[in-house]
């Protein structure tokens, strides 16, 4: 199924990209580009990169394309243009194109570094053994296995079905409790509220550490310590904290791409997707490894702006 969708999208992207470079009509080219870029957003969804897919829609389809169309239509009288490149431009263009092609082929053929990470739920310790056995079978020597408490789940119990405001108050109480225990500690945790399906009088709040324990050298999550902090606090008189559970998990680091895919698709293993908030997003974009791509995206927007201006000027200069 995934393969069918992939080839469908790939066909659409390639065909419409072909239309972009062959058509003589600038507006047709722009709309063909829209379809092509939309198909690329589809690829990102298939690769589990939802955020990137939305960025693709927002920046390329919604931003650059509108800019180009707007520039062309506002200023140029002639829409059918003879975009013929002089020979002087042909040579450097071929050179740059070949370099780009070589680069893409190199990336496509080269081995990716073994740096993928997966986290699996491991309530009974069985998963750790299964993952270890699978890794041995697949011959993944570089992988490192680590058993840890990946998440703490607080369960609250109300008198009857919970009101929405109880949900909010419970979350705020947890935030305040953690903050009172250590002034900066609320920023160390990602806090997310989860409803319990089929039990409307219950409420779960999940806590996760920001970042990976190995990377910042801090102590891992400790359920008993968190229970100690939060036990005396009662967010509302009709809401009691009844359980603090640590969710055991296996963290596997240093996986190659092939092993990563094999493990992810194993039906017996449950992948633990990390909790997410906007704060984490900001950290990743502004302070983490994505700062450079983020700036490059800004540069591309600038180039598109200049390109639109140049295309638009062609029509009016004598």
């Amino acid at each position: 199924m995934e393969a069918v969708v992939f080839y469908l999208l790939a066909g659409v992207a390639v065909v419409f990209a072909g239309v972009v470079v062959t058509t003589r009509n600038v507006v047709h080219a722009a709309f063909a580009l829209m379809v092509s870029l939309g198909a690329v957003a589809g690829f990102y969804v298939l690769l589990d990169a939802d955020f990137l897919a939305v960025i693709q829609l927002l920046v390329y389809v919604g931003g650059i394309l509108v800019l180009v169309l707007f520039g062309v239509m506002m200023t140029s009288g002639r829409l059918i243009m003879q975009l013929r490149a002089p020979v002087g431009q042909l040579l450097p263009a071929t050179f740059v194109g070949l370099i780009l092609l070589g680069f893409l082929l190199h990336v496509g053929r080269s081995e990716l570094p073994n740096n993928r990470t997966l986290v699996f739920e491991d309530s009974d310790g069985e998963t750790a053994r299964r993952v270890a056995r699978l890794l041995r079978e697949l011959g993944a020597e570089s992988a490192r296995l680590q058993s840890e408490t990946a998440r703490v789940v607080l369960t609250f119990q109300g008198a009857g079905p919970l009101r929405p405001e109880a949900v909010r108050d419970a979350r705020r109480a947890v935030e305040r409790g953690l903050q009172a225990a250590r002034p900066s500690s609320s920023r160390l945790y990602v806090i997310q509220v989860q409803e319990v399906w089929g039990a409307p009088e219950r409420l779960q709040i999940a806590l996760e550490r920001k970042g990976t324990p190995a990377s910042d050298g801090m102590a891992p999550l400790d359920p008993s310590r968190i229970a100690e902090i939060l036990q005396p606090l009662s967010p509302r008189e009709d809401l009691r904290l009844i359980a603090v559970q640590g969710l055991r998990a296996v963290r596997v680091q240093g996986l190659s791409e092939a092993v990563y895919r094999r493990l992810r698709e194993d039906p017996a293993l449950r992948v633990l997707t990390p909790l997410s908030t906007t704060a984490g997003l900001g950290d990743a974009l502004m302070l983490g490894e994505f700062l450079l791509p983020f700036e490059v995206a800004g540069l591309i927007l600038l180039v598109a702006l200049m390109g639109a201006a140049i295309i638009a000027r062609k029509g009016i200069t004598p």
Partner: protein, 304 residues
């Protein structure tokens, strides 16, 4: 081919936005972590369909309408995005369902009444949204008295119907999003009073906002193009930026635990802001209306 495809693109993009609005508690619609971001991304696709329609009609009125639409929608997307950003800053989530949970439990918890910057943002969002969906007083792309019917002059039959369905769908959805972001979504106005189910509250608030849109349509005359652009770039954009800055400062102060205690009542940064910001706005108003910047001679109306 572009002529035939355009109405479906406009309508499709309008309806796709509906997927980010949670209509009731425990709804799976609108309960995902990129919701508000997806809303901003999809809503910018509508303008492509409008340009497509205006250009492919091969008529000067359609092209004028499409160009006006492009300029207007692209401009008003910025204050719209800033207003949504203020909500994201205040609630710390992009998930629309979580935004509603954050304002549950009575009218005093609704985001519009949480702090003054959000109050301003709500109006900023609503006015920008009216401009974004091309309703009067901002219906320049289809101004009957000037350019026949704008970008859909040359359409008839079911394709014309799709344009109109898109316009009315857009009105309802934009109102639904305003309800979700600022008016508490499906939560009722009185705490502990569950007379009506959440979806009814949600529908009531949405219909109220749609009613205000229609009311404005029959009350206000159409603005000029230069007034429209001045409103966006000279007023809404700076106000939106100040809102983002102010909300950021208030959130930071709340995180540091700043507050006053007067007679056993603890007042947080939001309460203090409710006193300080209106005073500042009033002072600014007095300054502007008494010997502030001198009024310039009115510029001649420009035509695009």
């Amino acid at each position: 081919m572009l002529f035939r495809f355009a109405p479906y693109l406009v309508f499709g993009a309008s309806v796709a936005v509906a997927s980010v609005v949670p209509p009731f508690r425990s709804s799976l619609i609108g309960n995902y972590d990129l919701g508000l971001f997806l809303y901003l991304a999809i809503s910018s696709l509508v303008v492509l369909g409008i340009i497509m329609a205006g250009w492919a009609s091969n008529s000067k009125y359609s092209l004028f309408g499409a160009m006006r639409a492009a300029a207007q929608i692209v401009s008003y997307e910025i204050p719209l995005g800033l207003a949504v950003l203020v909500v994201v800053l205040a609630t710390g989530t992009l998930n629309p369902q979580r935004v509603v949970y954050d304002q549950a439990g009575g009218v005093h918890h609704w985001l519009i009444f949480r702090q003054p910057f959000l109050f301003i943002s709500a109006f900023l969002y609503y006015i920008s949204a009216i401009a974004e969906v091309n309703r009067t007083p901002f219906d320049l792309p289809e101004a009957e008295s000037e350019i026949v019917a704008g970008f859909h002059t040359e359409y008839s039959g079911i394709r014309f119907a799709y344009f109109f369905m898109a316009e009315y769908t857009n009105m309802v959805i934009v109102s639904a999003i305003a309800t979700t972001l600022f008016l508490g979504g499906w939560s009722g106005p009185i705490p502990g009073w569950d007379l009506l189910p959440g979806v009814v509250w949600f529908a009531l608030k949405t219909v109220l906002l749609v009613f205000v849109m229609m009311w404005l349509r029959w009350t206000l005359p159409r603005v000029r193009v230069d007034q429209l652009m001045a409103l966006c770039w000279k007023y809404f954009l700076p106000i939106g930026l100040v809102n983002v800055l102010g909300t950021g400062i208030l959130e930071l102060l709340a995180q540091e635990g700043v507050g006053l205690t007067i007679g056993g009542w603890r007042i947080g940064p939001n309460g203090i802001a409710w006193v300080v910001v209106p005073v500042l706005v009033a002072l600014l108003g007095v300054y502007a209306f008494s010997g502030g910047p001198q009024p310039r001679p009115a510029a001649a109306p420009r035509r695009p």
